[in-house]
Amino acid sequence: MPHLHIPVTRVEGHGLITVHLGEDGRVQEARFHVTEVRGFERFCVGRTLWEMPALTARICGICPVSHLLCSAKACDALLAVRIPSAAEKLRRLMNLGQIVQSHALSFFHLSSPDLLLGWDADPKDRNVFGLAAFDRKLALDGIRLRAFGQEIIEILGGKRVHPAWAVPGGVNQPLSEESRDRIAAKLPEALRIAQDALSLYEERMGSWAEEAEHFGKFPSLFMSLVAPDGSWEHYGGHIRFVDANRRIVADGLDPRRYQEYIGEAVETWSYLKFPYYKPYGYPEGMYRVGPLARLNCCDRFGTKLADEALGRFRALAGEKAVTASFHYHYARLIEIVGALEKIQELLSHPEILSLRVRAEAGVNELEGVGVHEAPRGTLFHHYFVDETGVIRRVNLIVSTGHNNLAMNRTVAQIAQHWLNGREITEGLLNRLEGGIRAYDPCLSCSVHAVGQMPLRVVLFGPDGELLAERTRGA
């Protein structure tokens, strides 16, 4: 089979795209490969459960808090404790800070150069510095919004990246009144920036209609946590699957029993595994996670400004789910606004300053599952330990992994639409990457994961002969 190779940049990780042409010269298949692995599932074996939160945080520097919290939750289950409610609130606060910083990074630093400078802009300018030259205020806004999220993490955990703060049983430090006030003082500016970005997106949306139509618009399932009352959730609750019509396919699923409904396939051409919804089989059980899925799955957000925006978002698809992956960007901006509102609520809760933040216990269960919503989607940590708390087995399903099938489908769709003949144009190159970037894949997290995606596209003919190859910058 003929194919095209494309390394991808401005996503968090290492990857490559190959496109295969059929006899008729049409795109037959396109693959997104993840090209790195570090082996966490193996080298965690033999370490103690107490080390796991800080160790697994090193899976990913973009969303270390996700792994930190998810791991701490799996360890709470091993201790069989219910953590103090103030500790849960503090963990939620840190996770919301992380959603803000991670989404801001995705939108302002990584994607807005495409959206605002255009798909055909000079590759030299398509980055955050190019954005600063084009619109200094917008770039500064992005930097400040991301910094706000990072500061919440730093104030709570003492460090912006890899704080060792969440521990089995709770957190190791409460929040002081002074620190709370410091966060609260910066909130209005963050909210102003987030709302401006959301309005900007809504105003400009019309000009991205072609991309919205072809950057991964197809029916699929969506999965996320939802709260017991059906509203948006990021820390607790249960798993829900909806289909492209926003009909609930499964609800109230116990996250601890994920293996009953999630299967994982492996392909030799990617270090990233391919999870699927078991009852539908592989690959028909393709589902998406992350901001788009969370907004499609929940009944309502649960805060004022985000619910108003959610109404406008839903109007894109009537009663149905928004199936255009391009609108991950839209969903991300709505989630930033909602996360900021929820931060406000938490800060004004009297319990947030409580000193009771940790439950002490030893090993009481030999198996524990932690689940939670990372910025990019549902994350699972599953540990088995011996009586002394030494890890015997680990399984991790990272957010980016869930989207693997959908990302592959997306690159195929973009290649089908923009590949003209056998030439790899700059516009095609950029859109292929842009399609992947919409998912904000964290290839670092993809444990079974990848590095920089220098966009290398290789086009192969029906007999496997190399038709064209193009590397950006060459």
Binding site: T9, E36, G39, C60, K124, R126, N127, H162, K273, Q452
Partner: protein, 175 residues
């Protein structure tokens, strides 16, 4: 004044060191006044350019692609910096080093035919994850997991001004 040509590279690391670089926040714009980021996961150049003044490399050398790239980068960059503990010591990715590679891959993928055993569409997994200086000479070590933005700035600022960076005391501590 000619702008300094700076590159950042990501090998087997978690990208936390790169995030810490972005934590320079507003200082990023000051950086951009004196330097040009000519290659990095956050910009769109796909091929490591010639004549790079300073390259910060995050992560250990974990697979054959990293190995090839590192050798090439060494010939193209004047100052090569081991950026963060993974690059300095092997740190987290080297935790697998005592274990046979086949076993690591088989555990991760739960199959007898995992990716990474052969050079193919994904690069081959090296038997051990190596710190940079096990492969090429390194000019500066910038430790930390990750180095904080303050530490990065203490290092970069003099470099941007054409001076020799001097890190000492708490700033050369691992972790």
């Amino acid at each position: 004044m000619r702008k300094l040509r700076v590159a950042t590279v990501w090998f087997s690391g978690c990208s936390g060191c790169h995030m810490s670089f972005l934590d320079l926040d507003e200082r990023l714009l000051e950086f951009a006044e004196r330097a040009e980021l000519v290659f990095s996961p956050i910009v769109d150049v796909k091929e490591f350019p010639e004549d790079v003044d300073v390259v910060l490399i995050e992560g250990a050398v974990g697979n054959t692609a990293h190995l090839r790239e590192l050798l090439e980068i060494r010939t193209k960059a004047k100052i090569l910096v081991a950026f963060g503990d993974c690059a300095v010591t092997g740190n987290v990715p080297s935790l697998r080093n005592p274990l046979p590679r086949e076993e690591v891959l088989a555990t991760v993928y739960g199959t007898v035919d995992p990716p990474g055993l052969e050079e193919g569409e994904v690069p081959k997994f090296l038997p051990q994850a190596l710190p940079l200086h096990a492969v090429v000479p390194v000019d500066y070590f910038l430790p930390g997991c990750p180095p904080s933005a303050e530490r990065i700035w203490k290092f970069l600022r003099p470099v941007l001004l054409g001076q020799r960076p001097e890190l000492s005391g708490a700033d050369i501590k691992l972790g």
